[in-house]
Amino acid sequence: MSGRDKAFHLMVGLLLVLGYFASTPAHIWQPDNAVLVPPEAGQAGPRPGQPWTLRAASDAITPLVHAGSMVELPDGRLRAFWFAGRREGGPDVGIHSAVFDPATGQWSPEQRLFDRHRVAQRFGYTIRKLGNALPVMSADGRMRLFVVAVSFGGWAASRLVVAESTDLGESWVFTDDLVLSPFLDLSYLVKTPPVRYSDGTIGLPVYHEFAGKFGELLRLTPDNRIIDRYRIGHGRAAIQPLVLVRDDHRAVAFLRNETRDRAGRVFFSASEDAGRSWAPLEASEVPGPSAALGGISLGPDHWLLGANFNAYERDELHVVESRDAGASWQVIRTLADRETHRLKPLQPEAFRELLAQELKQFVGIADPATVLNRAAMQKCTPMGCEFQYDYPFVLRTRNGDIHVLYTWNKSLIAHAYWQAGGEAQ
């Protein structure tokens, strides 16, 4: 080997060492001692029979609405998000939003924030449709919105993009395209709210539903850098993990059951190390069809879920509570119950009549006729009409109030509101 060859050889060796350091990001040189931020202790929850107020966050300006989510603003108001358009997965679907002011008990008019073209323009590639949107409020007042975007195919070909707002959700700038899968960046979706870590990072529950069906907790910095991810289940079992924090090290996850041989129960997993590893999935005591859950933790063993709470259909929706870490559950508020009509599809007239009665329980529905038309359009086929109440999203605000958003027959984003220590407005 000549002197020049030897020098080159040594230089390449040094470059390999350089490559080693380049491949070890700064965060892994620091010990990761971050723990979960548990919910504020000592909060009372709603009791059976206490009043809840029903409203609609959406205005029925589009035929379809779905997948409501929300976040509390610094001034105590709520901002809700959902996707809306002519049909689920349609090219006209956009992300819509409205603001609820607890002081007045009113939702602002529904506004369209953006559509797929905005996302495509920002990232420079084709976006065929948009889906679930999940807001996260940062300590510095920034709001992030994680949005499911699809370039081709169905939801299994989804990606997650991130938009940021510095004016509490009025205007948005797309900042990041999260790459979560080594295979064509397929297929990750988001539905449930994040957990927070003591170091300012969040654990964003995401799920995969292309090759497998499983959940993960994605560890994200405030500037949307992914620093780790933790798998919740594997194979083709369960999606849409709802993570509830018990204390700084313990958390539980409830997941939508996607199996056929073990259907009928919501899946459950637990973590003892702040979400970094999860026990194998097991059937929980919560019955459920293949449907999304919402929920909050009111204490280490005190949990509240928005759930269909039956093994078969989405035709009933309840707020259920466990005070013994999931060993037993009781219904504390029924938001909808059409179990008696299960497997007995109704004719449109009867369907509309029953829905009209339901709408009378809502406060401030401006145009019930339009809502009924939308519902009939979405839920009636030549075989008859079916009820659907799903995609609950539960939030507890700093003052202890509890809010549930859910999709009402794909036509409204319904809002159930329980006021801590007071009467419903």
Partner: protein, 196 residues
């Protein structure tokens, strides 16, 4: 931007391969390369690279470098990667892909893709792999590895995951085609593509 350039280079390389570049004159190859790059790099929504990024996500730095090496060779520049090293790279890719993709896509609780967000064991394994290539004087492999790691450090692609800088499904397909079509190691010298 880096991802788009990588995709454009890969697209141009594929175009040249499909056009049978060895049968073309040097001028034809250069025109073809330029045309492919221009079509690939047109601004969104016209550029083919953008469209493919939407479809395939971003390709790895490894794929980009292999494409650039191929374009250099096809356009009359000296080969900077001997065929035996290219084949060695393809073999490594084919050894990794069969367990990496199924596990990363949820086949078991183990998630090797998560190592790519930062893991000393993964970085050490790559260092050992690089050292093995270094001891074998496979310098092109070493440099491809280092460039992928440096690109990861500076986050030149969208991804925060080191795997995405080193490996992608298109690279696996390329490796498979290369190994299947040329099972025996090809001679490392001579083929410079400057015959036009």
């Amino acid at each position: 931007m880096t991802g788009t350039l990588v995709m454009a280079a890969a697209l141009a390389a594929v175009v040249l391969a499909l056009a049978g570049w060895r049968r073309r004159t040097l001028l034809q190859r250069r025109v073809l390369t330029m045309l492919a790059l221009v079509v690939a790099l047109l601004p969104w929504p016209f550029g083919a690279a953008h469209w493919l990024e939407g479809l395939l996500s971003q390709l790895s730095i490894t794929s980009g470098l292999l494409a650039v090496i191929m374009l250099m060779r096809a356009n009359g520049m000296p080969s900077v990667m001997p065929d035996d090293q290219r084949r060695m790279l393809c073999v490594v890719v084919l050894l990794v892909a069969p367990w990496f993709y199924p596990l990363s896509l949820g086949a078991a609780a183990l998630d090797p893709y998560a190592w790519g967000f930062g893991d000393f064991r993964f970085s050490t394994a790559l260092l050992l792999l690089g050292l093995a290539a270094w001891v074998s004087r496979a310098y092109a492999l070493c440099l491809i590895l280092v460039l992928g790691q440096v690109a990861f450090h500076f986050r030149l692609l969208h991804s925060d995951n080191l795997w995405d800088y080193l490996l992608d499904p298109a690279l696996v397909v390329y490796a498979l085609v290369t190994v299947v079509r040329r099972p025996a190691p090809a001679p490392s010298a001579g083929e410079t593509g400057a015959r036009g």
